[in-house]
Every structure is written in C-alpha cells, then in structure tokens.
Symmetry: C2
Subunit: 327 residues, 2 copies
Amino acid sequence: MSIRIGISGYGNLGRGVEAAVKNAPDMEAVGVFTRRAPETVKTLTGLPVYKMEDAPSMAEKIDVMILCGGSAKDLPHQTPELARLFNVVDSFDTHAKIPEHFEKVNEASLSGGKLSIISAGWDPGLFSLNRMYGQAVLPNGQDYTFWGKGVSQGHSDAIRRIPGVKDARQYTIPVEAALERVRGGEQPELTAREKHTRECFVVAEEGADKKQIEESIVTMPNYFSDYDTTVHFISEEELLRDHGGIPHGGMVFRTGTTGLHGENHHVIEYKLKLDSNPEFTSSVLAACARAAFRLSQQGQTGCRTILDIPPALLHPESPEELRRKLL
Amino acid sequence: MSIRIGISGYGNLGRGVEAAVKNAPDMEAVGVFTRRAPETVKTLTGLPVYKMEDAPSMAEKIDVMILCGGSAKDLPHQTPELARLFNVVDSFDTHAKIPEHFEKVNEASLSGGKLSIISAGWDPGLFSLNRMYGQAVLPNGQDYTFWGKGVSQGHSDAIRRIPGVKDARQYTIPVEAALERVRGGEQPELTAREKHTRECFVVAEEGADKKQIEESIVTMPNYFSDYDTTVHFISEEELLRDHGGIPHGGMVFRTGTTGLHGENHHVIEYKLKLDSNPEFTSSVLAACARAAFRLSQQGQTGCRTILDIPPALLHPESPEELRRKLL
C-alpha cells in the first residue's frame, strides 16, 4: 500500500515534490491544493488540482500533506492550520523563527492527534543534521558553513527592488582560500567577507543609470556591504539563457581535536552540489513524509524536526535490509 | 548527574574512549575492565582498573559499558554476554556478520531489559548513516565509498604474516581521477583498481629476499592482487619515525538525479580526514553511549544501530537548544 501524498501549493517546490513522489517506490500523489483557480493550474503528471478549501474534506484520502508554500507569508499560518487535520511536512526556513513555528505546529498536531515535521530541506535540514552529528562526535571543535556556488533568491530579490533594475540573479560563492584553511584543520576565525563573495547579473531598464545601480547594490547593508561584490550588466536574453537554472549547494564542516591534550586533528566535511535547489529540497520533503507517515502509524503525535527522526524511517527499505546493506 | 561509563578492554580504542569521555561535558568514566592482570595496566587519567570478571558486580555503578575489544575474537561473545547486564555500545565492524551479531545482542539486551548499540564508529557508523540519508533523498542514484588516505590494519597484518617481514604499514589511497569522475556526477562503474591504490612500507628481516617479499605482496589474492600496489623497503627506525600514526578517513558519495526525466544532477559528499582512526571511532562510541543511556532512560530495550537512533540523542544539549542553534 502506497503512502498517499497531498501537495499544498504548486510553485517550484510543489512541482519538485510531484516529481519526487513519482520517483519514490512507496508513495503516490493524490492531488495538488491551491489558492489559485484550480482550472488555471496544469500539473506535470496530470495530478488533479483542488481548491485549498477542499483539503479538509479529503483528510481521509491523504496520509501526509506536504506544504510547498513560502516561509515568509504562507507557512506561518498554513502549517498550523493543516497540522490539525493532516500529518504534515514543511520546509520552513526562517532560521530565527523556527522555535516559535515549532511550538505552534506542535500544539496543532497534538490537538489533532497528528504528526508533523517542520524545516525539512537542506538548510535547515541536512546541514543542521551534519552540524549536530559533528558537534556530538567532536565536542572540542568548530563549525563552518559555506553556501554556494548557487543562486540566492533573497539577494536576487533585493537587487530587483532597486529602481532601474528589470531582473537580476545573484550567486553566492565560497572563497577558495577560506575553504583551504578550514580543510587544513587550522580552525580560523573568518569574517563574512573572507568566507563568501557575491556575483550579480543585472538587467537594467532602458536608460537606467548603471553606475547608480551598481553603487546601490554594493553598498546595500546586510545583503552586500559586508562582501566583495561583482556586478555584471547583461541583456534579458543573456539572463534567461545563461542564468535560468536554480543551482545551489554548500558545505558544512566540523573540525576538532581528540586525545587528552587535543593532539589529534580531524576534519568532517559534508558537501552538496545541486543542479536544482527546489527539486533537491523537495526530495528531502518526500523522504520526511515517509518518516511522518511511519511515526504516525506508530501512534506518535506532535511536531518533529529532522534532528528527532530515527534515520532509517526516511528510507523505503526495512531496518533489517538497511543493516545488511548499509552498515 | 553525569552518565557513568565503563570501559571494557584497554587498547587504542579503550584509551580513545577514556579521552573522549574526559572531553564530554556530561559523562564520567568509572573504570577499565581487562582480561590482563589489572596491576599491569596503567590508564591515561588514572582510572581504576578491574578484572573483567568483576564487571557484573559493578552493574549498579555503570550506566553504559563501552566495549573496546576486537571484532574478530572479542566482541562476538563479549557484547552478548555484557548486554544482559549493562547498556552497551560496541564498534563491531565485520560488515558481513552484523545481522547475526545484531540478533544475538538484541536477544541478550531484551532478556536483561537493557539497551545496546552495535557497530558504532565511522564505517560502519557515520558512513553507513550517510549512505542511508543519500539513498533516502536521491532514490535514483549511485553510492560510492572511498577509503583513505589511511592505514589499513588488516592489510598491514597480512604483510606482516609474510616470511621475512619484520614489520609493515599499508596505506589505502583513493585514486584522484576516480574521485573527479564521481564528483563530476557522471556515475561511473569503477573497478577496485580504479578506485584505490595501495602503498606498503615494509621492514625486512636481515638477509630476507626483498624481491620475493614484494612479489608475495603484490600478488596476494583479496588483499593486493586487484590493486596497483607499491612496496617500499625501509628501516625499522624510519617506520617508527614516519609511519607511527594511525590516520584514516575517506568519502561517501551519493550522486543522483531528480525531476520527472532525471534532468537535474546532484552530488552529496561526506568526507572524513582523521589524524587518529581509533580516537575518532572512540568519539563516536562515546556519543552513542549518551544515546544508549537516554533510550534506556525512556524505558527502551533491545539492540539498535546508528541508523535507528534519533540524532538529537547523540548530542549533549536539549532538543530545544538544538532547534534554536542548529536548524
């Protein structure tokens, strides 16, 4: 019997979940739920599309609802709402607000007798997991996270808000020299500027002051002023042709020492190189949906994160098979 | 209240556990148990040393017993024996026999109402975990494991058994060209020879036939005949001076595709670079002892592997703190 998945929201992430569920041996998608007019939404695999308001009436037909909305406006209310009715999984990624989101979703899941997993993806998600394992194994040590090379949606949006900018794509790029120092185990203190550079590809409106746009970008507080930033002006055609993908990735390091006097050094590196950030995130969401279903079948309720989930529950095979093949 | 740890066996691994427990904020070591005469064993931190037969009488004073014997002769009987009396953790690493070992230890732990974790370390252990997460997230893909650069104890021992060899150290080294192909995402089929080379440093007995020794090494089935092997003859002084450490490490890759037509490629790489193989393994054992204690406190019994353990149980901080700091 397949795990029956509902998909709430149908942007890049929703499409990624649709494909990930199709690729999973033990899941099937039931349908997409949207706030748009259903007849205007065409799904990749011909999945039926329902109005969001129809979701509650389908609670019996869905084992896990995967929420594919945004962290800024959708998930803070959608996840708690749906968590009363469904086992849910979301990718809430506003790091500072995760504890608050957790509490709300936990309460909703408990009140509905359901199981929820929040903040699934790669950061938060697989990166968090690797920070945790690294710290647990090497208590005397240092964490490092590098992102990229990849497209930062938030930084691209910040550029688009500058007057005279028609479109933009921003890449976050780790600095090789910093990576080498971390891999060498020297545990350096690194500033934001030493860790990442930022490269921007900008399409200017006709007649816009490019000098002024560039100045606005490189001096923008929080987003760019603490980094070495390069700005390239290109045509709209070039942007679509050369920068249409959504690659990302990065590295989590734990470097530390063991021995009574810290005499032995160790470096743990976890690295992702992703062609498609949303599709990879969706694949983590699908694996977490499997775990949510199984935990719920065990009678567990309330909210979890990937830090709480017995790893084997994410994998389609049985614990016996996993011990035989992977240990 | 600290978690009280017993250390069974006092070789490289036992000393590593002693140091790891010392470095842990929430554990204390109670003593070492040995089959040698206790008065002949000097511990690094002055821990008391007891006869192995005295362990049962100290069951009330020890929360978790960490077993530091060998997988060939010690653990197959020691772990089941002690698992009736203690929560235990071992690093049993004879991959093919793990299912059988699991069954025996599980039965013992259940009969004693105790919790056990077997095959903790990095391979099996953290590497197994990364194979599992990789497969769960990228079901359409390929696994690769590379070991090294590092000292292989088994291969060093095999060389030492050759007549005329006084001592030897064997390094397993991943082939750069193979790593590049895997990192490039092309999912190659690789033979043993294409993945690793073997480099041997050998101290010959006086008057031994070096030509003959080299021939015996490079043609040895299972161990060397399937690899490109280099043999260097060096003096005993050089061996001790330049090859006294026990470094190791390696990489686990999962490379795979997402999308309805497998159009997007992803590479997950988990890499360890370890100055001391036994001390790092010991650090994993110590973290697993924390998890074993907590699972036991929850009333759980029976055998587990790292694939079954909720990750947060390995970390000294609370789930709330971990959510706040690591997600």
